[in-house]
């Protein structure tokens, strides 16, 4: 829940370029399209947005909030560039750790955040920790790049616990996948 996808276009763009040998963009679009939207819809993917966007929201966010790498309990901790919700770090978990007894949603999305220390972009996997009522600590509610629910993959009001043991939202976490 509360978790935006504003930088996924950057990720996708980067990866679709670099991983062209593995999977063509066309087949990726077709695949998502089939799941998300049936055959009738064309440009459902954030990559379409990227082409026109002025500045990468992840970089913009890091500047605006003065992103830092020391305190994972603050809203401006660098990994949270796409995360909205209660921080698992304040609830017995960590940036990449669900609090005891909660379960990471098997589903997640990926954003790219700027690490202000090395100036590099990192892939961050966002997934909600689920199965308990809201942990209610450190609510960080960002809206940069956030889209309405008719573009669900970019909306942060949706309960992102699909496929978990329970659809009850507990908190939001953010794990590093890699550096790009």
């Amino acid at each position: 829940m509360f978790s935006g996808l504003q930088v996924i276009d950057k990720v996708f763009e980067t990866m679709s370029r670099r991983t062209a040998q593995k999977i063509s963009r066309r087949s990726f679009v077709a695949r998502i399209g089939a799941t998300l939207a049936g055959a009738a819809v064309l440009p459902v993917l954030p990559v379409a947005r990227k082409a026109q966007a002025a500045e990468d929201p992840g970089v913009e966010w890091a500047k605006r909030v003065e992103a830092q790498t020391k305190d994972p309990r603050a809203c401006n901790y660098w990994r949270y560039c796409s995360s909205d919700g209660y921080l698992c770090s304040c609830c017995g978990g960590g940036p990449a750790t669900c609090p005891p007894g909660s379960t990471p949603s098997p589903t997640s999305w990926v954003g790219s955040c700027l690490n202000p220390d090395d100036g590099k972009m990192y892939l961050i996997a966002y997934r909600d920790c689920c199965g308990k009522d809201s942990c209610a600590q450190c609510g960080c509610l960002g809206t940069a790049g956030e889209m309405p629910t008719y573009r669900p993959q970019l909306n942060n009001d949706i309960i992102w616990c699909f496929g978990g043991s329970s659809m009850v939202y507990h908190c939001s976490s953010a794990a590093i996948v890699g550096q790009i």
């Binding site: 939207a37 026109q52 009522d133 809201s134 309405p148 008719y150």
Partner: protein
């Protein structure tokens, strides 16, 4: 246990199997006691009226325990409340004869067996009139009005679903029965425009319109794209005149697109901007949760406005701007006593503007003069406002 001392009803407090005590309380009193005859009753809501307001709150951070508050806007008082489920939605029959919550429950609070259902409440007694299961579930999201709706004649209830393909669950209010799903590929939200028709916004910027019959045989038509969905999407909340089949969509950047959904194939007028160059220079933007509404009898659009940068589309509004839809001109600016996240209007001749503030206060204004009418505090996260005839 016999009930010879009902006036000392503590005895019966431990007799769970005993029948209701209230009719008995005046019996067996001391012979010289003066009986007052006051029976314990259950209140019934007054006839619905334009200043009846319903407020849905998801109750963050206890979101398994949503509530719906019912307010008399004239008297500025709570006239009722009902409990709902997790990320519940809400809808009102066109004549307010029934109200509906769209609920999700787990048998053990946050775990156990999940149940998705629509609960029908009698609009006057608030007694439960029916419960209809939603076998395909519901989309779970911080509630927006257009996730759940009722057709303009009150016949069908519509509930948006995403699991994983997007569809709308249809429930017949007459038969109190789930009829099935209408697939709306790539689209979301529900804007009803007739007894058997609704439209949805799609991720490619088009508008999908579904016209269905009693057996859910459905015709789909699509118009557009009419918005630049990548750079300037329209809000999920819109100003609606359902009975006339009109919806006025508002974009993040202040564009208004008026759709005529009264026909199977809708038409959408070209967009116009709320904002003058001067407004833009001052960074005025729409923002909030239920950010836009309208006064239907006079065709006035009400929009929550604030000064802010791009991507502040959920920032609470400091003013409400009023536009005449026909002439596309701003006709009023109402300065709000407290920043608001949601607004609604009563649909009578001396309309109220209801605002839900960021500190969970309902502040009511005269929608014409902008003068404050009253202030009430209830709930902790009241997000959505519904008025009679919505």
């Amino acid at each position: 246990m016999t009930r010879k001392l009902p006036w000392l009803a503590l005895a019966s407090a431990f007799a769970i199997a005993a029948g209701p005590a209230r009719a008995d309380e005046t019996k067996d009193l001391p012979s010289d006691a003066k009986l007052m005859g006051e029976q314990h009753s259950i209140a019934i809501l007054s006839k619905p009226h334009p200043k009846r307001l319903y407020v849905l709150e998801p109750v963050f951070p206890h979101i398994i325990a949503s509530k719906v508050w019912i307010i008399d806007g004239d008297k500025q008082e709570i006239v009722g409340m009902t409990s709902a489920g997790y990320c519940s939605n809400f809808a009102i029959a066109p004549d307010s004869s029934q109200i509906y919550t769209f609920d999700t429950y787990w048998s053990k609070g946050t775990r156990g067996t999940r149940t998705d259902l629509i609960t029908f409440f009698d609009g006057r007694t608030l007694d439960i009139a029916a419960e209809v299961d939603l076998p395909k579930g519901r989309m779970l999201v911080v509630p927006k009005k257009q996730n759940a709706e009722v057709t303009t004649d009150g016949r069908y209830l519509l509930s948006y679903n995403l699991a994983p393909s997007t569809s709308v669950s249809v429930v017949d209010t007459k038969a109190k029965k789930y009829l099935g799903e209408i697939e709306i590929p790539g689209c979301g939200l529900i804007f009803p425009s007739a007894g058997n028709r609704f439209s949805s916004l799609c991720s490619d910027g088009t508008l999908l319109t579904a016209t269905f019959d009693e057996k859910l045989k459905t015709k789909l038509s699509r118009v557009g794209p009419f918005i630049d969905v990548v750079n300037d999407p329209v809000y999920e909340h819109a100003a609606m005149d359902k009975q006339k089949g009109k919806v006025h969509f508002l974009s993040y950047e202040g564009m208004v697109y008026s759709a005529d959904l009264s026909q199977e194939k809708p038409s959408i007028s070209p967009g116009w901007s709320l904002l003058t160059d001067a407004d833009k220079a001052e960074s005025w933007r729409p923002g909030g949760w239920q950010v836009v509404n309208m006064h239907r009898p006079t065709g006035k659009l009400y929009v929550l406005m604030h000064k802010g940068a791009r991507w502040t589309h959920k920032t609470p509004g400091e003013e409400v701007w009023v536009f005449d839809i026909a002439s596309k001109k701003r006709v009023n600016r109402i300065h709000l006593k407290e920043h608001a996240i949601s607004i609604a209007l009563s649909q009578d001749d001396d309309p109220h503007l209801y605002t839900q503030t960021e500190t969970a206060t309902l502040i009511t204004y005269d929608a014409l003069s902008g003068k404050e009418v009253g202030e009430m505090k209830f709930g902790i996260t009241p997000y959505l406002l519904f008025t009679h005839g919505d």
